[in-house]
Symmetry: C2
Subunit: 435 residues, 2 copies
């Protein structure tokens, strides 16, 4: 079975734990084995791996999330990167073309396309087998999954099926309704649209030729920034006549806001937190190394990261987005393939960053055009390459990197560096890669 996971999106509604480069699927808040936490992405991949048979997973993501993604997924998960952010139709077209043109998979094969932002039980993924069968054998173009609604939600789109059978043709799609209208939909057997669908690769490629005027991976990749910014729902799903829906009867939660996310958290608190005995229905998530003390809270979510602190009534937290859009703050924390970086001081002509490299990891060989850098190794051992010269370094060493000079560092042990950037135009975009 070929599964494509759509892992994109920026995470304003789960600020300060999600941001431009770390969207919600990377937040580690679900208890997993070994007293550790797993992220939504890791949870979904683990659940998919439990489906029987041969499973191939391809994660489609944007360039800005490639580094963090590599940290979160195992070697046996393939990654396809969009060169920039577009909507879901270009992303899915790129991925379908990638599977045929790069991975040399027959366009006659079915794929299942699945977002990674829903919290579901393991049996959700069992429906994938039915969906694949339908997409492979019948004369159906598109197979959706429809979630049996538990209440007349105003937050989701509805699929109205022709029958209340486990598998049914689709009569029509409905936009997010009022609760009253939603009740009527539910009476008719209406289902929430979970955003998962199965089809043959060739079906997507056909739509790509129609809408994008090409189905070649390299063409789509090259012209990506000019492609229409449209969703797969709008471009394809809602227009398709030959379409079926598989009914799913089980837990399904969109965990896109703190309010909904906290409902599925198993622990009251994560990180350095003390909670008094008078707190009720409150969750504290602390990603900083500052201690948090919480007392007497009722229905409150507290989330802290180097990017900021949210203290909100759970219901009100759903209205977070405009406050985050108001911030215009530099992103202070990022997970990278090699470890993490945390901005610890910002000044007019300097930026001080704490960089942690995991043992064995390395940065890419790069240089900067407009800034000097100084690295102070405060912990561990490693090897730098500065202007093609290799040197061993250890705690206490200082490495000066004037602008224009190529540099990298490889961690022999876990390595902690204080990096000071100095210059008049400090900008993350100022990075020239040499490998």
């Amino acid at each position: 079975m070929q599964i494509v996971l759509l892992s994109g999106g920026s995470g304003k509604r789960l600020w300060p734990l999600s941001n431009e480069i770390r969207s919600k699927q990377f937040i580690k808040i679900f208890s997993s084995v070994n007293n550790d936490y797993e992220s939504m992405l890791q949870k979904v991949i683990r659940q998919i791996r439990q489906i029987s048979g041969d499973i191939s997973i391809l994660v489609s993501t944007s360039k800005s999330q490639e580094s963090i993604l590599k940290k979160y997924v195992a070697q046996d998960v393939e990654i396809s990167c969009e060169p920039c952010r577009r909507n879901t139709f270009p992303a899915i077209a790129l991925t379908a073309a990638y599977l045929r043109d790069v991975k040399k998979i027959s366009a006659n094969e079915p794929i299942i396309i699945c977002p990674v932002d829903s919290y579901v039980n393991d049996d959700f993924f069992k429906s994938f087998e039915t969906m694949e069968e339908l997409a492979k054998n019948s004369a159906v173009n598109l197979v959706l999954i429809g979630i049996n609604p538990t209440y007349p939600s105003e937050k989701y789109g509805y699929i109205i099926p022709k029958s209340k059978d486990k598998i049914s043709e689709v009569l029509e799609f409905k936009e997010k309704p009022t609760a009253q209208v939603a009740e009527k939909y539910i009476e008719q057997g209406g289902l929430w649209n979970g955003g998962v669908f199965a089809c043959k690769i060739s079906f997507i490629l056909e739509k790509a030729r129609e809408i994008l005027k090409t189905d070649s991976y390299f063409e789509i990749f090259k012209r990506y920034s000019e492609l229409p910014n449209i969703s797969i729902d709008y471009a394809v799903v809602e227009k398709e006549k030959n379409i079926k829906v598989v009914r799913y009867n089980g837990d399904w939660k969109d965990v896109g806001t703190w309010n909904t996310l906290s409902e599925v958290m198993q622990e009251t608190s994560i990180g350095k937190v003390q909670i008094d005995s008078t707190c009720r229905n409150s969750n504290i998530i602390n990603e900083t190394d500052m201690p948090i003390i919480a007392m007497g809270l009722q229905n409150i979510i507290v989330a802290a990261s180097p990017d900021g602190i949210l203290v909100a009534d759970k219901f009100q937290s759903s209205f977070l987005r405009p406050f985050v859009e108001n911030l215009h703050e530099q992103i202070k924390f990022a997970e990278k393939s090699y470890g993490t970086y945390t901005v610890i001081d910002i000044d007019e002509n300097s930026l001080t960053i704490k960089v942690i490299l995991n043992a064995g990891a390395k940065m890419r060989y790069h240089s900067h055009e407009y800034r000097d850098e100084i690295w102070m190794i405060v912990k561990g051992e490693g090897q730098t390459v500065i202007d093609d010269k290799i040197q061993s370094v250890k705690a206490g060493d200082i490495i000066k990197i004037p602008c224009g000079v190529k540099h990298t560092i490889k961690a022999k042990t876990d390595l902690k560096i204080i990096e000071i950037q100095l210059g008049k135009n400090i900008n993350v975009e100022d990075k020239i890669l040499w490998e």
Copy 2:
């Protein structure tokens, strides 16, 4: 008029804004002129300066608060330092001896001793004139101020006067009562004990000879750590028969907890904070440079500093102390006479600190026995003295200071330094002063 301000105490109950070295009187949360904030200490000194006549102020504090104190008080305020922390009787005895032995003031002069932890209107200090008159002229040994209670508080000690006159002899002192008992005291004309009193310097010195077996400043200072750890109330006030109380009829608030402090805050928020329109009776104080977003809070106090984050129901915040005692965290933020320092990373054999020196300020010339230091100037210009050699430094410069080497820096402009301490035994105590 000679006024002695008692500025001591550690601030567990106002964590994370107060700590071992910054007690509550240094927290800047009261609106003052020029859109700035002033601390309790600054407010009290400003109010005292409004009393007519010649006013001399001496602040009695502990060694650990000397540096921050120098930053908060003007040149015309004298400072007397206890060599270590003791209770109020040794502190007052030391101060009285200092005034006679060092400042050469006649022991026949009256002094007014006043703690700095109450929030009062300007007219509170007008009572000082009456108190001084009484202490100077009459045959009274001790003059107290008694606050007319506004409710039967269980939190304060009570003074029971002989009459309900403006000035009265004292009948007796009562410990913190139950509300019911407090009501009875109030019926009798009972007053809250504000901890302010006036007497002649000679009266304190006489008690010092009695209790400490000396009234010499140098003796008291030398033996300070061995002196009995007793309060002035216990050692002197409650045993004194020849004592009067001056009735004060006005605002007086002990602002020792977040609950009471937030009552006298003029602003809902201080620092980088966004509050939504559904918050009620909540205060957010942010001393970090991370933004805070507060939504839907009711009766909540949020306080954040590099030392930690408190999110508490206002009433519950009164029970903060044991949670703070549980922390065992290194203090991360300190105000110094020269500026501030903030710990930004702690590791096994390293400590990274951001040091800000105000223009014109300098560190004391010092060295360390067990650690190397590296200074990275990230902003401004200054002058270092390293091993007696003077050198001009500016943003981008790196200064290595191996252990044992004497060093200091003077800020020409505002100066920001990233200091990295490296060694096996990093400890604030490891500091040898050379001036």
